[in-house]
């Protein structure tokens, strides 16, 4: 009996060893003839279209080099990046999420290549304004904002565009607001007419971005630096967050934010607005291309969250070069290709927000307006990143806190205490 079992085990081992040898012989390719490239943007997204062009440009300028492109799933990269990059299967260049918990962590683990020299020599640093560079550079502790370059952002995003239904604005004689007070008056008009003004997704990221917007309406750059880059202690009961929590609660009470929105997902929020059930939705520029292609039943426009000079938003995800990449110089050439004007302009014309487009060569009017908005924010150093960035797991804290405001389950003061604790715990953990 034991012999049979041992035999089987031995057989499995033998099989494993044999296949291992076979697998080993096929995986080496440090020959400067192949560029392995991964990203997780859909083929029809602005990034997917533009990067496809970059691949073609790269092939044209590198005859004899094969580009091995694979579209990965966001989740797979999220879950397994450190394992992939620690193995021989690491690609030469890949898209990766910006932020302390992602790119910062990998840089700290020594899994990413320092791109500082390339960024200077190839002029990437000059194309990226300071608030876009924040997410590209990480210090020795993996905290963004200073230190070496570990990634290169290729596009940007804003988290608080107000998309509005022009037909509904006309019907109730509402004009596009330019200040927060006008915005509240406009929402009052809708409420009086029995229409809920905002489609809100409280189950996911959208509601916390509105909350953050309200805080930013009272904030200066140094507040953002304190909150996101840990420059100084943040007072959660200070004027910024107190105003945000009180106002958010007031908006729920006044009927601007639907009382049942605590459980609504971002997808359902967007679709409800697309169906014309709400006049406005406040969310990111990542919806833009989708609304352009899917909304056929009404005219729509967009404006920035009124009155703010600081906006949730940041650079997009980064190009990173794994430390174990086999063809690093090809990887640098590819990143360079994505920063070239033709690729950047194509991204702009496909509804994306490139970091270095030439507005003059953007043909679509809607896209040109969007890029002008973005460039305006960037040139005033107005990117304030996202509220869930400062601490690991803070996304869930934020979702829960804002849900408590929507359901009026806790007072604004209690919610702020809830938000403060994990934030301060994290500060203690990283020794700030």
């Amino acid at each position: 009996m034991f012999r049979a079992k041992a035999g089987a085990a031995f057989g499995v081992l033998l099989m494993a060893a044999a296949l291992g040898v076979a697998a080993c012989s096929g995986s080496d390719s440090g020959d400067s003839k192949t560029l392995t490239l991964w990203h997780y943007e859909g083929p029809n997204s602005a990034m997917g279209i533009a990067w496809n062009q970059a691949i073609n440009d790269f092939k044209a300028s590198h005859p004899g080099v094969t580009v091995k492109f694979e579209e990965k799933s966001f989740e797979q990269i999220q879950q397994t990046a450190s394992q992939i990059l620690g193995s021989d299967q690491a690609p030469d260049v890949m898209e990766y999420n910006k932020g302390n918990a992602t790119a910062g962590l990998l840089s700290k683990q020594g899994l990413l290549t320092d791109l500082s020299t390339q960024a200077q020599q190839r002029g990437w640093a000059g194309k990226l304004s300071p608030s876009l560079q924040t997410t590209a550079r990480y210090d020795a502790d993996g905290i963004m904002g200073s230190g070496k370059w570990y990634g290169v952002p290729n596009y940007g995003e804003l988290g608080d565009l107000v998309y509005y239904n022009k037909a509904m604005f006309d019907k109730y004689h509402v004009r596009v607001p330019t200040t927060l007070a006008e915005f509240e008056t406009a929402m009052d008009t809708f409420v009086k007419a029995g229409v809920t003004p905002l489609s809100v997704g409280g189950g996911e990221y959208p509601a916390q971005q509105i909350f953050y917007d309200l805080a930013l309406s009272k904030a200066t750059r140094s507040f953002v630096d304190d909150f996101q880059l840990y420059k100084h202690k943040v007072d959660f009961h200070g004027p910024e967050f107190s105003y945000a929590a009180d106002t958010f609660a007031r908006w729920v009470k006044a009927g601007y934010i639907p009382k049942n929105s605590a459980g609504i997902k971002a997808e359902d929020m967007g679709v409800a607005w697309e169906q014309g059930k709400f006049p406005m939705v406040i969310s990111g520029t990542w919806w833009y291309g989708r609304f352009v292609s899917e909304v056929k039943n009404f005219e729509w426009g967009s404006f920035l969250f009124p009155g703010n000079s600081l906006h949730p938003g940041s650079s997009g995800n980064l190009w990173v070069v794994p430390a174990k990449a086999k063809n690093k110089s090809l990887a640098y050439d590819f990143i360079d290709a994505t920063m070239k004007p033709d690729v950047q302009n194509l991204m702009a014309n496909s509804g994306g927000l490139p970091v270095a487009a030439e507005p003059a060569s953007v043909t679509d009017e809607k896209n040109r307006d969007l890029i002008a908005l973005f460039d305006g924010v960037v040139s005033h150093d107005g990117l304030a990143f996202y509220p869930d960035w400062p601490a690991p797991g803070y996304y869930d804290t934020m979702v829960a806190g804002v849900q408590d405001l929507i359901n009026a389950a806790k007072t604004p003061g209690q919610v702020l205490d809830e938000l403060a604790k994990p934030y301060n715990d994290n500060l203690a953990d990283i020794g700030k």
Binding site: F2, M15, A16, A23, E41, E71, S73, E267
Partner: protein, 300 residues
């Protein structure tokens, strides 16, 4: 209430003619049957409803979805979502990979379980309870716990990012469950059969191959089917170990559509439909084996 009283009353009259009596008896079971039937219909609808919604959205164009939401009827049948998805992830290749992995695991897992269970259940190895407890615990461990050790082992064996490592891992995982289950089946294996074989001069291997395996074939085919389906649906470990696109299995490929913030509802439905179909087909093919296996177990 009144009708129930009435039927009970008529039931007490055995003098009624036979034909009528049976007719009444059938009627008597009527209400209960209808309640059960209605309950079953509700259950079936509850189970099928998500699948129907998936099928509905799989054949909708994105604009249609945006205008009328997930529950609206499609205005025209739009199959490009399915075709696009198939080509985008090279779905044929993923099907082949999934099939290879599941089939290898099903066969390997059953062989491993039979050998183990023969030793533990019939061979009565010393300390077999402890072996069983060990197998049970191994089976209860969450896969997340196993990831890092397996990752390092696979890297040092140069098997990271190959189907082989996934097959080996799942043969062991499924095999541990199979061992646990089969051991209890074999523990009650009729001793007369074994004694008779031994008297006839059969060796241990011959007993296993000629007696034990044929007798327990129905149970083994159920195990085979379960191992196949379970492995087919595995997501987490394949996600971690199968990195290259041409090595990936169906559930991993379906993940491509879930973006960071955006989800493409119609294409996701299309992919979900493509993901469900093989499992349904497999069930239809092996459904008879399953019922037979379960029956065989219950009679014994």
């Amino acid at each position: 209430m009144a009708t129930a009283e009435a039927t009970r009353a008529t039931g007490r009259h055995p003098a009624a003619p036979g034909a009528k009596a049976t007719g009444r008896r059938r009627q008597g079971r009527g209400p209960a049957r209808h309640v059960v039937l209605a309950g079953l219909v509700v259950l079936v609808l509850l189970t099928v409803a998500p699948l129907l919604v998936v099928a509905l959205n799989a054949v909708k164009s994105p604009a249609d979805y945006a205008a009328h939401g997930p529950l609206g009827m499609p205005h025209s049948v739009y199959l490009r979502g399915i075709a696009d998805f198939w080509n985008r992830v090279d779905f044929g290749r993923k099907l082949l990979n999934s099939f290879l992995v599941s089939a290898a695991v099903a066969v390997g897992g059953v062989i491993l379980s039979v050998l183990n269970a023969y030793a533990l259940g019939i061979g009565r190895v010393r300390g077999r309870t402890w072996f069983l407890v060990f197998f049970l615990v191994a089976n209860l461990l969450p896969q997340e716990v196993l990831v890092y050790p397996l990752y390092y082992v696979s890297k040092s064996l140069h098997l990271y990012d190959t189907l082989t490592i996934v097959i080996i891992i799942f043969i062991v995982i499924q095999g541990s469950f199979g061992t646990y289950l089969l051991t209890s089946v074999y523990a009650s294996f009729p001793g007369e059969l074994l004694d008779a074989a031994e008297v006839d001069g059969a060796g241990r291997f011959r007993v296993l191959w000629r007696i034990v395996v044929p007798v327990s074939r129905p149970t083994l085919s159920v195990l085979l089917t379960f191992f196949f389906v379970w492995t087919w649906n595995e997501f987490f470990l394949p996600l971690v170990f199968l990195i290259s696109s041409d090595q990936q299995t169906v559930p991993v490929a379906l993940g491509v559509l879930q973006g960071e913030r955006m989800m493409d509802a119609t294409t996701t439905s299309a992919s979900a439909l493509l993901g469900i179909v093989p499992a349904v087909l497999f069930f239809l093919i092996f459904q008879r084996t399953l019922t037979r296996g379960v029956m065989a177990g219950s009679v014994k």
